[in-house]
């Protein structure tokens, strides 16, 4: 029996939960050489800001144990070029697009959202991911997701610019003392979903040159090494929603997914959608392969719908 892999977010139904992760798939053309990106539940674009951005100098990467550090610095063409070139291309191949946006100020987030909402290809957009958690900003104080108030403000402003039926996912950082309070603020301000997690702030030192390996000094840690942190974050927020601490919204899980088993781990913790990031650098077909593996695993668990597995680990605890 084939498993029904469809998932629904705020009224939008996707054929399956699998997505690329922002910044780990460019804007589609490159991966489309390896597999048909329209077969994914959604394609998540590289975070785009108002203006073109060069990003940071190099080196921008360091390999770490079961992961990597990056300091790209949100390089991108700016929202106008994005809606003129990238979005129409994604639409042309039939992709459902989750557009990741950011701004230097809360107001800039809103401006980017408005340009997006007004664009011709907007009908292929199945949601907007609001990246309030990029660690690669010059001033760590600019990571909105470190503060509930700042997070809430950005979400509220973006919400105003987008049609009511367009889902908004706030992307959170795990680098906080209490991720539940940030999630709470984002949801209360209008986020219809949450994406967890962005990279952890990390650093590598070049031991030959005895200096930071990245041009940007610190960077974002990603890959399988951080998966236990992603699972924990999803678990905590799901538990809080189940406890009724705030309204239940769908979660997108991201962080260290490399196999169908990894995806299932995030789903069992509470994720409805799954993004595959760094593992795509190891295997360009990873998002598609994870989908196939996940489907087979779900089948082996005997469920009819993948959604039956969302958060299931909360119901299966053994209290010894």
């Amino acid at each position: 029996m084939a498993v029904d892999m469809a998932v629904t977010f705020t009224g939008r139904t996707l054929p399956n939960p699998l997505m690329t992760a922002s910044g780990c798939a460019a804007n589609g053309r490159e991966l489309h050489r390896f597999f048909d990106v329209s077969k994914l539940g959604a394609f998540v674009t590289k975070t785009v800001m108002m203006d073109p951005r060069s990003g940071r100098g190099t080196p921008r990467m360091a390999e770490t144990s079961s992961g990597m550090l990056n300091s790209i610095g949100l390089q991108g063409p700016g929202i106008h070029a994005f809606v003129a070139k990238d979005l129409p291309w994604l639409k042309s191949v039939g992709a459902r697009v989750l557009v990741s946006i950011a701004g230097n100020t809360a107001g800039e987030f809103a401006d980017v959202a408005r340009v997006l909402a007004d664009s011709d290809a907007f009908d292929c957009v199945v949601g907007v991911e609001v990246n309030i958690s990029c660690p690669n900003v010059a001033n760590r104080g600019l990571v909105f997701a470190c503060d509930p108030l700042a997070s809430g403000k950005v979400i509220a402003l973006v919400r105003e610019q987008l049609p009511r039926d367009v889902p908004i996912f706030a992307k959170l950082t795990p680098d906080v003392t209490d991720i539940v309070s940030i999630a709470d603020a984002a949801v209360k301000s209008g986020a219809t979903g949450l994406t967890m997690i962005n990279t952890l702030l990390g650093m590598v030192i070049d031991t030959d040159r005895l200096r930071p390996q990245l041009g940007g000094i610190t960077g974002g840690l990603s890959g399988p090494s951080i998966r236990p942190v992603a699972v924990r974050a999803l678990w905590q927020v799901t538990a809080a929603m189940r406890d009724g601490r705030f309204q239940t919204v769908p979660l997108i899980g991201v962080g260290g997914v490399r196999t169908g088993r990894d995806a299932l781990e995030l789903i069992a913790a509470g994720a409805t959608g799954i993004q595959v990031g760094t593992s795509t650098f190891n295997d360009p077909t990873a998002p598609q392969r994870v989908l196939t593996e996940l489907e087979a695993l779900a089948e082996s668990h005997g469920v009819a719908r993948i959604t039956e597995l969302v958060g299931i680990a909360h119901d299966r605890m053994v209290i010894p």
Binding site: G23, A26, E30, L31, R33, G55, T58, E63, N70, Q75
Partner: protein, 298 residues
């Protein structure tokens, strides 16, 4: 052996390759890998990205290597040859592979060396293992009637690759080593003016360390020649999706952007690269680059 063919343009495959031969050549390891589908698509100057470490590895990122040569068919199906210097964990693992070991290959990647439309003299410059892709290039150039002059340089004799092959592949060969253990003592840039003067070549192709590529570009310019250089930036994916491999490069309108060397390179016209932005292993964003940080950073 599974082959996933590209579904779009560009011509790239991901295959589970099989090592069929591995041998030491000086300081390097020369690997021959059965990788069906690569040979038919590859052109000189392109590269391959290999996964390393096997199923339990903690090294996730692919390693990139210039394609030394390809052979579309053979006893085992199409093969791919690479020349690898053991440096860190990944190349250490690769150079310890034995015959019949599996290795996941994505290739061919990047833009190949652009070929002259006329049969002109060409200068090919290789630094260390950077010479690996040049023999195949020489062959293709000579097929088009170009004469080929090779200059191979390295720190020491064991770090030269292909001196014997060069004598067959090129019309003239000059060798330099920093320590004088083979050929002329010194750098390739010491002998290059002479080579340009002698051949009158309008184009040079180079592969090797950044410093060398910069001087090839400079000397070529002095002689009115264009340098096509294959650069080596740290790459996490090799296929254009991570944005780690960028370099400041001018386009034909003179506008500088941070471009991905894996898809827009790794071969660039040397005079388009903003060499002044590189120093001591780091590369800054030139102030006039598109979207460069404004005061206060970004």
């Amino acid at each position: 052996m599974s082959t996933r063919n590209s579904s779009g343009a560009g011509g790239v495959v991901q295959v589970q390759g099989e090592v069929i031969a591995t041998r030491r050549v000086g300081a390097y390891h020369h690997l021959t890998i059965v990788a069906p589908g690569v040979a038919e698509l590859a052109r000189p100057g392109q590269f391959a990205a290999l996964a390393v470490g096997g199923p339990t590895t903690g090294n996730l990122l692919r390693r990139s290597f210039s394609i030394h040569k390809v052979s579309p068919s053979g006893t085992y199906g199409g093969t791919l040859d690479l020349v690898i210097a053991a440096k860190g964990a990944g190349t250490e693992w690769l150079t310890q592979l034995r015959a019949h070991d599996a290795v996941d290959v994505v290739a061919p990647l990047g833009r190949p060396f652009p070929l002259p439309t006329e049969p002109v003299p060409c200068v090919l410059v290789g630094g260390g293992y950077g010479s690996a892709p040049l023999f195949w290039l020489a062959e293709v150039l000579r097929e088009r009637g170009c004469s080929v002059e090779m200059v191979l340089g390295a720190a020491s004799e064991d770090r030269l690759f292909g001196v014997v092959e060069a004598r067959r592949a090129a019309d003239g060969v000059t060798v330099t080593t920093d320590d004088g253990s083979a050929g002329q003592r010194g750098w390739v840039s010491d002998v290059l003016p002479d080579v340009f003067r002698r051949t009158g070549a309008p184009v040079a192709y180079a592969c090797g360390p950044m410093g060398m590529l910069q001087s090839v570009t400079r000397v070529a310019a002095e002689f009115g020649a264009v340098a096509q250089v294959a650069v080596e930036e740290s790459m996490a994916c090799g296929i254009g999706i991570c944005m780690t491999c960028v370099m400041p490069v001018r386009n034909k309108d003179g506008v500088t952007s941070m471009v991905r060397s894996c898809v827009e390179g790794s071969v660039f016209r040397g005079d388009r690269i903003r060499w002044e932005a590189f120093h001591d292993g780091v590369c800054g964003v030139p102030e006039d680059a598109v979207g460069a940080p404004r005061v206060g950073g970004h």
